[in-house]
Structure formats: C-alpha cells, structure tokens
C-alpha cells in the first residue's frame, strides 16, 4: 500500500497551478498538522491496517517545505510503525524554501527522497511561470539535500510553453545533469481551468519535434523513460499508482483508493481542520477499474494485462502498425505519447 500526505500551503501561486494549495493560510499550519495525525490514526484503525504496510510515503502539495520540519514530528511518530523498513519516503519542496536545515531535519525524520520543483533554469521562464525562486536556488537546494544525506533527488522541469526553443530546453537539460540527481520529471504545460493561464491558453505551445528531442536528450544522459513524464531511477510511489496499488490519502483534498472505493476528504483547509474524518466515497465498477488499469498501464512501463482487452484483433493491429508490443502477456505502448489514443482504440 502507498501513503500520500497532502500539504496545501504555498508561498505563492504559480500561473499554471490547479492543485489544492493556499498562500494565505500559514497561521493554520500547526492546527492542520495535528489534524492529519487524527485522520491517519482513524483511517488506520478503521481499515485495520497491519504494521509495516506502507512501502512508500509521499509528501506532496502545495509546498511541503513551507511547513517547519518540527511540525512533521508527531505525524512521523504515528506513521513510523506502519512504514516498511525500506520504505521510500519522498517529500516535495521548492528551491527557495528547501533550506539545508529543513532538509536535514526531514532527513532525520526519515525522508530519503526529494522531489524539487525546479521547472526551468531560465530566469525569464521562471518569472513568467510566477515561480518564487531563481535558478541558483535550484543548485543550492540540490546540493543542500545531498549534504543532508538525501541521495535520491529528483527535479521537475516544465516544457511545451510559448517561451520554449530547442536551445532553451537543451540548456535546461544540461544544467540539470550537472547536479547529483537520480530522477527527472518533465511535464508538458497543461492549461487547467481556474488558473491564471486559463485566460491565455496560447501560452501552452508544444512541438512534437521538440518533445521528442527533449526525451532523447534525457535518455542520452542515461535516464530511461518509465512513464510519459518520468525518467531515471523510478519513484516507487508513483510507479505504484500506475501499477494500480491501493493507496491511502491523508490531508485536505488528498485522495485514496482502497479496493473498489476511491476516498475523498474535505478539500477546503478550514473544513478539513474542522472535520478531518469526513469523507466521500466513489464506488468504482469493475469496468471503471479495468479502464483505469488500461490507461495507467499504457502511459508507463507497467503495461496492460492482455486479458483485460476483449478485442484481440485490436492488439494485433497495434503490433502490426509498430505502435505496441506484447511481452509475457502484457501489452506495452511503444511511445507513451500515444497512450490515451491507444487506450481509446482498445476500448
């Protein structure tokens, strides 16, 4: 099982961000951090989870680094018995707030993997994205994490923006691989509703040629692509989602899935603080779960059990056209870029 903790606080809101995050609620942080403990203890008991069940913990946001490490202590205390001894424990952080002190304290609590929201090394692009950091903050944060003893380090980059040029993307990759990273995520800019960029959708501009060159450049540095946006030593946590592992979500707007139920808490921070045990359940039919397995499997190296696909002639057609291959009764997309289209074709 996977464990996800959501930290809904940020220093600033990025132009593209549709996540559940708040920039003005810092005074709620302490209260919030005690309520997540309540929820965790309740859920563990309700579900009668055994010790050491979680093989991963992922702290995401928002920006987990906007919350003092001390405020995480109680959470780790209650969670620790339920973590496997070799659990992958990741925290997200932003380059401006991931200080050596914070990172070192988190390392002491058990964090062994860092996912850093770098987005770009280009100052112009960082400003345009409304990021709170400059490029030197990325270098400093990565080195600080390394010094703090976190050796599994990932950075996020964003592409498919109107500012991109082949040269800009190439420089971003070169700068990234100077750093001691083991993983890289590269996300195409997606315009989401209710974000500042939604008013100017033309800021997202993707050239297939540039995307393919970007993937090749990352691969040339020895980072294999294992999902449409992820390269290098896989995140066991994220891979778990695509493998359809069950997961528990803790915090405001955190989502979980246990067997055929997807679970939702209050999204609003105040509502969550008032009632951290509240949840709504979404029932997943066998057909829903089948579709999810197909779409998750095709976008990653997980692949799809061929028994899930009723029309085998469609599989043959994909193989014939060189778009997919089958190994040990699992179907894999040759290019993750077409994952959704292939899923539609198989449906």
């Amino acid at each position: 099982m996977l464990l996800y903790l959501h930290i809904p606080f940020c220093d600033s809101k990025c132009s593209y961000c549709a996540f559940n995050s708040y920039t003005h609620l810092h005074h709620r942080r302490a209260r919030y951090m005690t309520q997540i403990v309540e929820q965790f203890l309740h859920d563990v008991e309700e579900l009668q989870l055994p010790k050491a069940i979680f093989r991963t913990l992922f702290i995401g946001g928002g920006t987990p680094s906007t919350v003092d490490a001390a405020l995480y202590e109680r959470f780790f205390e209650v969670v620790r018995p339920y973590l496997a001894h070799d659990a992958e424990i990741t925290t997200e952080a932003n380059p401006n707030s991931a200080t050596l002190t914070w990172l070192a304290q988190m390392r002491v609590l058990g964090v062994n993997r860092l996912s850093l929201g770098a987005q770009s090394f280009d100052e112009g692009k960082l400003t345009w994205l409304h990021r709170a950091h400059a490029s030197h903050h990325i270098d400093e944060a990565v080195h600080a994490a390394y010094s703090a003893g976190i050796r599994n380090i990932s950075i996020d980059l964003i592409y498919g923006t109107a500012l991109d040029t082949p040269a800009l993307l190439e420089r971003d990759i070169e700068r990234a691989f100077v750093l001691p990273i083991s993983h890289l995520s590269a996300y195409a800019l997606t315009i989401e509703e209710h974000t500042p960029f939604a008013a100017t959708p033309q800021v997202a501009r993707e050239s297939l040629e540039m995307t393919q060159k970007l993937f090749e450049a990352i691969d040339a540095h020895g980072f294999a692509q294992y999902e449409i946006s992820n390269f290098g030593t896989p995140s066991r946590h994220n891979l778990g989602y695509w493998e359809y592992a069950p997961y528990l979500g803790i915090g405001a707007g955190a989502v979980g899935r246990i067997a055929e139920h997807r679970r939702y808490t209050h999204t609003d921070v105040d509502a969550y603080i008032a009632d951290p045990l509240y949840r709504t359940l979404e029932h997943l039919s066998p057909s829903d779960m089948r579709i999810e397995k197909i779409l998750l499997g095709l976008r990653s190296r997980v692949g799809v059990d061929t028994a899930l696909i009723s029309d085998t002639s469609r599989i043959d057609a994909l193989i014939e056209e060189g778009l997919a291959f089958v190994e040990n009764n699992r179907l894999y997309a040759k290019s993750y870029l077409l994952a959704d289209e292939i899923a539609l074709f198989l449906e």
């Binding site: 946006s229 997961y247 979980g256 997807r262 999810e292 779409l295 057609a317 870029l337 539609l344 074709f345």
Partner: protein, 596 residues
C-alpha cells in the same frame, strides 16, 4: 352556394403568403388579436422556422359585403416544388387564386409553375402586389413583369401590404366580386376530392375535402374511389387553425374535414375522390396519381442500436406523410439503416430533421441519388437507386439518367454566373427571355442528379439570394456515367460511392479525397484515402498519423478525472463511424455532398 368563394393563394417563399393568410383571418374577425401568434397558418415548427408551408391548411371564414353574408374558404397550398402534386389538388379544389407577388422582388420561378397549374384548372386569377409599404417597392415594374412573364392582365392588380393591413378590405371585396361562386349539382351522387390528409392524434387519419356534387353527411357510408375502401363518416368539421366547428353535413361547393376513424393516411390519399358507397358518382374528380419518390438517400442511425427506434419513427411519420417510402438497407460502412424515397430535396431535409428532432435520433445521410435506368449486356433493364448497387462496367450496355426542365429567374447582374453554373451542371439552354431590362427567365434541360446535390445553395450564393428556381421532371436520357468509389485504408466505403459523368470523374475524385483528408481526424495509423473507378485508382491522399494524445500528469488524485475524460473522448469517437480501424466523422460523409 351563391355566397361561397373558394380560393387559394399562390406565392413564392417570402412573398408574404402566410402573413396575408393570417391578415385575412384576422380581418374576418375569426381570430381575436390575443389569439394571433405569428404565422398561424404554418403550424409545424419546421414550417415556422423556415418560413415555408409544408402541409396545406385551410380555413372557413365569414365575410359581409353590402349587407350580404359570404363564406370565404381559404385553401392554403404548400409553397414548395417538392409538393407540387398537393398544390395541384389544392388548386383543383379552388375556384380562384390570389397571385401574390412581392413589390420589391417581382415574379419568381416557383410562382410561375403554380400560376400555370392554376390556369390549367381554369381558376380566376387575381394579381396582388404585396409589400407596397417597402421603400424598394416598384409596383408598376412588377405589374409589367406579371404581364410579360405570365401573360395575364395586371392593370387591375391590387396593391396591398399584408404587414400593415393596407388594401386588405379591397382584396376581400375583390374575392367576392371577381371569384366565381362554386358550381355543382346538389342532387347528384356525392363527389368530393381529398386535397389534403394528415394524422391527428385524437381523430386518426383525416381528410380535407372539397365537395363538388351532392353532399357528405355524418353517418353516411362513403367509398374511396382509388382503393375501393368503404367507410362510415363518423364526424365532419369546418377547418380552422384554432377552433374547428363541428357540422353534420358538408354541402356541394363547401370544404370540410372528414373523420372516418382511419389509422393511417395511406388509406385517405391526396387526390382520391370520395363518393357515396351505394350511389357512386360515375367519374372521379381528375385523375389520381400515387406520390412518386424522386430522390433517394440512405439514412442510418449513428448509434447502431437505434435501428428499431428508427423504424418506429419512420412508421409514425408515414402516418402523416403517405409520400414517404422506405425499405431497410445494409451498408458495410454504416451498418443497418433505410433507403428512403423523397419527393425532392426539401422533403428530404424536412424528414431528416423531423426524425432527429421529434424522435431524438442522430442520423447519417448518404449523398442523395436519383434512379438510373441501366441496360445490362444480357438485355435486362434494372433500376438503380443506390450508387453502390451499380453493376460493374463490363455488364452494362447503357445508363440512362433522369432529366428535369429547370426554370430560373434572375436579375441580369448575375446572369453570367448563373449560366456558367448551369453549364457546369451539364445543363442545356432551352430558352432565355428578358422579362424586362432587369430580369431574365432561363429554361434549361439538366440532369436531376446535378441539382439534388447542393445546387440550390450554390444558385442562391451565386445570385446573392435573388435568383429563384423551379423544376419539373422531363424524362430519361443516356449518359456516359461511371461509379466513383472512395477507399479508406484500402476498403471501399460503400456509402460514399457516387455516380458521375466519366469526363468529370478524375476532377471529382481528386476534390473528394482532398476534402476528406481535411475532415478525417488524425488516427493512430496513417490512413490512405483514395478515389477509384472500377479497379483504377484516380486520386490519393494520406492522412498522417497522430503524434500525441496523453496528458502530462496522472497521479493518485487525477485518476478518476482522467478516466472520465477518456470516457468523454470515447463518447466523441462513438459519434463517428468506424470503418475497419478508422473512425470517420459525419462531416467526411457529408463532404461528398459539397463538391464544387
């Protein structure tokens, strides 16, 4: 009988026929101002939207002139060439006709055809120039045009505005003075013509009749002369768009609605004669001809599960439209559907729209086709109404196609463009008459196939909407024709086959595939789109394969949303037709229709 006047209104679309009818009803005090909705004579939603009359309506009105009460029976006529048979029967039921011409537009092609029909029926024609309140009105020029194009005296033409009410009284007086009272023998055996019929949800199939001799009484046993059926008259009514009035007898010279408890309009056909079952009249009123389909098209439900629903919908539509003919048809590309016969292009559009709107069906229509007479090498003659069923060329001795005589009236400004259009459509000029220095009447012999596809729209855009058009069938002629097939990913899409002149096949094929290339969304695979005649490929385009369809992020909190998005995309694809492994949108099928 001396105080009855039966009259029709003849007018081109937009020349104000329905407005005038409404104004006359109001002037006779038959409907209060409060009850007046816009265009009450056009009751079907589609009629009101398009400003056309599809089903004829009638109304019985009272009018007093010089202290004398009169019954005025207004017999409305369908305003479109597709329904000319119904028009002819409405006119046969009238003793006079108002010829309405727009004071700014002048005489139009469809008006001409109907005026000639009225003249054949020996009707008294009263020319009426409408819309004289418009700034662009030129009543004198229009009167001149009526004289030169129709050859009737227009010096006494009435000048009116149906919109403002100018001249309506004078018009009603003229109807009384100039249109003759009906003649007939009240003592003779019952003789009445059915000039319209429709399905009423409460009364069943009913007929609207004009009684010539004798009378129709409630309880009477009557015979329908064309099919020999005998029925009892259950009820009789005088027609009115809002309040029909019950009666026990419809006398010689009158019009009325006959209710016999019939289940569908197929047994009470327009043009048939009603007579007394025991004492029948010797001769029917005029000759009865069953409605004949002129244009055929395949109609297919996009959702293949809806085939039975579509059959039910067609069965219901036929209750009200005996001219509708259909039979099940199978297409490799489109699955199960129907080959439907229509009276013309408007009829086809109206039927398709009603099926979609009133029966909630999503339909794909194939390119409309005419009926070809094909002589085979073994001497046999076959009729082909579906291009995909055209025999292979080596079995064919000759193909004959239907021609029409097309009449176009246009301002001289567009004459050049219209002649070019007609020539491109393989038209042969029969006549060119200047109605005056500004307007020209053209008559062309032209293959029907050339006008069933997109002709009317092109004519309208070529002439900024000023040219008008009418046609009538004029027999079959041999043509050098071939079947043009479309192949998608190598397979012939049977629903897209069309019959074209051999000389145009390459050009049409190229246009077709380049058009389709734009309309086929990129697929997972590269898709070849080809046009072929027999085994010979005459044009080819390639739809490149898709580059990307995947979203960047999909973690624990995104999965439900992601699944729903995929389901939505799937629903979108379901609206397309899967041809092998290729999804074709409806527009790709329709592109065959728009090819110039």
């Amino acid at each position: 009988m001396q105080n009855i006047r039966n009259f029709s209104i003849i007018a081109h679309i937009d020349h104000g026929k329905s407005t005038l009818a409404d104004r006359i009803i109001q002037e006779c005090g038959s409907v209060s101002a409060r009850e007046m909705t816009a265009q009450m004579m056009d009751t079907m939603e589609i009629e009101q939207e398009r400003g056309i009359t599809i089903k004829a309506q009638s109304v019985r009105l009272s009018y007093v002139k010089d202290g004398q009460p009169y019954i005025l029976n207004l017999i409305d006529t369908p305003g479109h060439v597709d329904f000319s048979y119904e028009v002819s029967k409405s006119l046969a039921s009238s003793d006079g006709a108002l010829l309405i011409v727009d004071a700014a537009q002048g005489v139009e092609a469809q008006t001409l055809a109907n005026v000639y029909l009225a003249m054949e029926n020996n009707l008294e024609i009263i020319p009426v120039i409408n819309k004289i309140d418009l700034p662009a009105a030129e009543p004198e020029r229009v009167a001149e045009e009526i004289e030169s194009s129709i050859g009737i005296d227009a010096t006494d033409a009435l000048l009116i505005s149906a919109k403002t009410g100018i001249g309506i009284r004078a018009l009603l007086d003229a109807i009384v003075e100039r249109i003759p009272a009906p003649v007939g023998d009240p003592e003779a055996p019952t003789k009445a013509i059915i000039y319209d019929s429709w399905f009423d949800p409460y009364l069943g199939a009913v007929g609207l009749v004009r009684v010539f001799d004798g009378a129709i009484s409630k309880g009477q046993q009557v015979k329908l002369m064309a099919n020999g059926e005998v029925h009892q008259v259950l009820d009789l009514m005088y027609p009115h768009p809002l309040h029909r009035q019950k009666t026990t007898i419809i006398n010689s010279g009158e019009i009325g609605i006959v209710i016999m408890g019939l289940k569908d309009v197929g047994s009470i056909k327009v043009g048939d004669t009603i007579t007394d079952a025991k004492r029948p009249t010797a001769e029917p009123v005029g000759s009865y001809e069953p409605a004949k389909a002129f244009v055929f098209a395949g109609l297919y439900p996009i959702d293949t599960d809806k085939f039975e629903d579509m059959r039910d919908a067609l069965d219901k539509l036929r209750l009200n439209d005996s001219s509708l003919s259909y039979e099940p048809e199978t297409s490799i590309a489109l699955g199960f559907g129907f080959r439907v016969g229509f009276l013309g292009m408007l009829h086809m559009e109206v039927v398709k729209e009603r099926l979609e709107r009133e029966y909630d069906l999503d339909l794909i229509a194939t390119a409309p086709s005419v009926v070809y007479h094909v002589t085979l090498t073994n001497g046999e003659e076959v009729k082909v109404q579906n291009p995909s069923e055209m025999p292979e060329p080596n079995y064919i001795t000759k193909i004959e196609e239907p021609y029409v005589k097309a009449t176009v009236i246009t301002p001289t400004d567009y004459l050049g463009n219209i002649i070019t259009l007609l020539t491109n459509k393989r038209g042969m000029q029969l006549k060119m008459d200047y109605l005056n220095e500004k307007r020209v009447l053209l008559e062309y012999s032209i293959p029907l196939n050339e006008i069933v596809v997109d002709f009317y729209d092109t004519l309208k855009s070529t002439s900024k909407g000023y040219a008008s058009f009418d046609y009538e069938a004029s027999g079959y002629q041999e043509g050098d024709l071939v079947k043009l097939d479309v192949r998608v990913a190598g397979d012939i899409v049977d629903a897209l086959s069309i019959i074209v002149p051999r000389s145009q096949s390459e050009q049409r094929g190229r246009a077709l595939v380049s058009n389709m290339k734009e309309l086929i969304p990129r697929q997972l695979f590269e898709v070849a789109v080809q046009a072929s005649v027999g085994n010979k490929i005459i044009a080819r385009e390639t739809v490149k394969s898709m580059g990307k369809n995947v979203t960047a992020k999909c973690y624990g909190g995104d999965i439900t949303r992601k699944r729903k998005l995929l389901e939505k995309q799937k629903a979108g694809k379901k609206r397309m037709k899967a041809i092998g492994k290729v999804n074709l949108p409806q527009e790709a099928f329709l592109s065959v229709l728009k090819m110039d």
